[in-house]
Symmetry: C2
Subunit: 190 residues, 2 copies
């Protein structure tokens, strides 16, 4: 049998199973915008979520946030409760609309306002995880290790550096696999 | 070259590209619960959406709704602005939580409250589209063609029988492909 055909077959199988769906970087270390992220795995969404004091909220103009992760990392988390190296989260922010079509109350999603990313790459980043803001561009530079994103996630994340406390399906997985951060468990028990 | 290997290769390629991700029915015509729907393609979510009069809303206990569709049908819609036969929508309903962890305002998602489905199957249903409520079970019978789901969707849907008006990415596709329903366009222009 033809060896090159075997090679093609197994390459195809590998792509189909594991996906080439993690973070891609340019030669100068910028994260490439993951253009297919809307076909990645959805984790959860919130409306008007506010990490600072409640007084900083803007209830008249709440925003939706949708969180996606690359599919192969999602499958790994379901199996293990841990994030594999080369995981990429995408945070999509959208405006909220109230009345429209047959909707008379509550909110649904509208315009795209911003896209941010969080990457796990143990060799590339000393702190393992890094944050990115695309700002409409097709590549982004990592925020510094002392950014507010980094410090807030390091202090409050439920699993590793990620806010699994807000993703109900994954929170159940982390509980059953015993992978919740000790600091998170201690705060939750108060 | 070995003919059976070629057959395996192309079968594999077909599954990887088109997916075996549409609706599955039991011999007696019940829709099987699509257990992997959380890995399907997310369309959008809303909070406290209310199709009846605003007075029927429950603002003290708003619910999130997440909508997913089987990936191969999503890809077809992106290409054409139409839903292929054997499309399956999943509507997931979750409770909303306000304060928790570092969140001080707004809402994020919590407990699973219900799962419903909408299927396009032109041979199986005279009206082409049918609705299902799983109620925690692993299979569901179609609601009658005169159900409130059917009549509301038939009267108000943006594309075919579906509420694309609430899925911003797909609404842009339908506009560019010219596949919005005439009745929806007429109402929108008022």
């Amino acid at each position: 049998m033809n060896k090159s055909l075997v090679a093609i077959f197994f390459s195809f199988a590998l792509v189909a199973q594991t996906g080439v769906d993690g973070p891609q970087f340019t030669a100068d270390g910028q994260l490439t915008f993951p253009k297919d992220y809307r076909q990645w795995t959805f984790l959860s969404s919130g409306l008007g979520m506010t990490y600072g004091p409640a007084a900083s909220a803007d209830p008249a103009n709440p925003r939706f946030d949708n969180v996606f992760v690359n599919p192969s990392s999602y499958r790994a988390f379901i199996e293990t409760g841990h994030w594999p190296d080369k995981t990429l989260f995408v945070l999509e922010i959208r405006s909220a609309t109230g009345q429209g079509s047959i909707n008379s109350a509550g909110h649904y999603q509208n315009e795209l306002l911003g896209i941010e990313g969080e990457v796990k790459d143990e060799k590339r980043f000393p702190q393992k995880w890094a944050f990115f803001s695309f700002g409409g561009k097709d590549r982004a530079t990592a925020h510094g290790a002392d950014s507010s994103c980094n410090s807030c996630h390091a202090q409050n994340a439920a699993v590793e550096n990620t806010f699994v406390q807000f993703y109900p399906v994954l929170l159940d997985v982390a509980k059953s696999k015993g992978t919740l951060n000790a600091a998170f468990l201690q705060k939750s028990s108060h």
